[in-house]
Symmetry: C2
Subunit: 268 residues, 2 copies
Amino acid sequence: MHPLDAAIALTPDGDDRFRGATSPAYANMVGPFGGTTGAVMLNAALLHPARIGDPIALTVNFAAALADGAFEIESRAVRTNRSTQHWTMQLTQGDAVAATATAVFAIRRATWSAPEATAPADLPPPQSLPRDTVAHRLAWTNRYDMRFVKGGLPAAPDEPEREDSTSVLWVRDDPPRPLDFASLAAISDSFFPRIYVRRRRTTPIGTVTLTTYFHADDAVLAAQGDRPVIGVARAQTFRNGYFDQSAELWSDARQLLVSTHQMVYFRE
Amino acid sequence: MHPLDAAIALTPDGDDRFRGATSPAYANMVGPFGGTTGAVMLNAALLHPARIGDPIALTVNFAAALADGAFEIESRAVRTNRSTQHWTMQLTQGDAVAATATAVFAIRRATWSAPEATAPADLPPPQSLPRDTVAHRLAWTNRYDMRFVKGGLPAAPDEPEREDSTSVLWVRDDPPRPLDFASLAAISDSFFPRIYVRRRRTTPIGTVTLTTYFHADDAVLAAQGDRPVIGVARAQTFRNGYFDQSAELWSDARQLLVSTHQMVYFRE
């Protein structure tokens, strides 16, 4: 079983309830990588017998650091329309709420379609770039093969601050895993905090909320398979303890897979 | 009383419950303007006796068109930490859930701060531009004074499709109203659907989810007062029934007030 599938595995525990557990393979500084927390909450809708359609949007709110170990997720379809379905999820450990989420699912139909944003052009192929190893003391970063075109973490502690926090990279699950909605949800949280990229040093941070919009469908996911996708991330403002971060994931054929946004707490 | 304050007025109805009603002053094509729905759900946290701090993030999921008339909102502080608080809200009419929301509040502290995105430069002043009147048959659009620098709605039905859905405009409440978190939440949903701007024609649409990140604090809001703010909006992709839309609101001193994102259903 792929470590991501193990990390997001859920056991039904009565109506609208599932049991899961954190996974050492995705350990972060404190508790698990937030991407797997988001993916397992999405999975509590994906696995629910009442589910219709595919994910359109997911918002995950990180209310507290998860403790390593077991958790419960309650997931409820609060409204089912003809082609859309609205979900609320809550992740608890004992009596404490550690995360909340909402999701929108939909049955998509073919319509007029057009891209507007464009993927970065003329990228070197992933195999021509070195794999990032700067953050490898955190288990979860070993679960992603990241190859930075620009905007990686500082390798030395004495780099001057930058004006621009933009990163462009190739990223895929390690070991490779065919892309699906759960892995897109997890990869959406794999971008290093923009404040590290900009200030060239680390500081205590924590994502408080993460929203991901899914533009891919099964055909696009199948065409991408397990090859690396392109990630682009940037901040808009850093102000009094919080910054926002927006990112896109693109297929290697330059189709937009997800657009994703978060607000991140930082200290100092 | 300003019509926005009337539209977001709530009466406590027991622990964690409030009663409100839609407002004809903000009527949309079907039901009320989504911006007031988002603002009244935020207000159910702002008015709650357990609230700490100011809004950092708000996600509103529009599960169904509201019927004109009364509604109930349940708002719960599901987790209160030292400086952050996580909220869930649910808006019901009878037994039906019409909207859900989550919010993060925080007590902010002064830290290193830096802008990264920049506001559009060299804008003509609002009073030099004509007020938009194209959409004025919808009541809610009369509650906003919008003056487009670019990317307004088509005035005639025969304009060719554009490559770019970007809008830049000055916008303020009408009548003028000092800016606060509730009005920022409402204005965040006042951008016309990007598909109208791009295709130069209307089609049935509906926002399914809207996320707003608040970068302003009381001092920034007080400095802005009731003068027009700058809005910038764009789409990233239109695909099989859904498009995403990202926008910023800037103070006239070019401070980022909010960044806001949505996924919108469209037909055809």
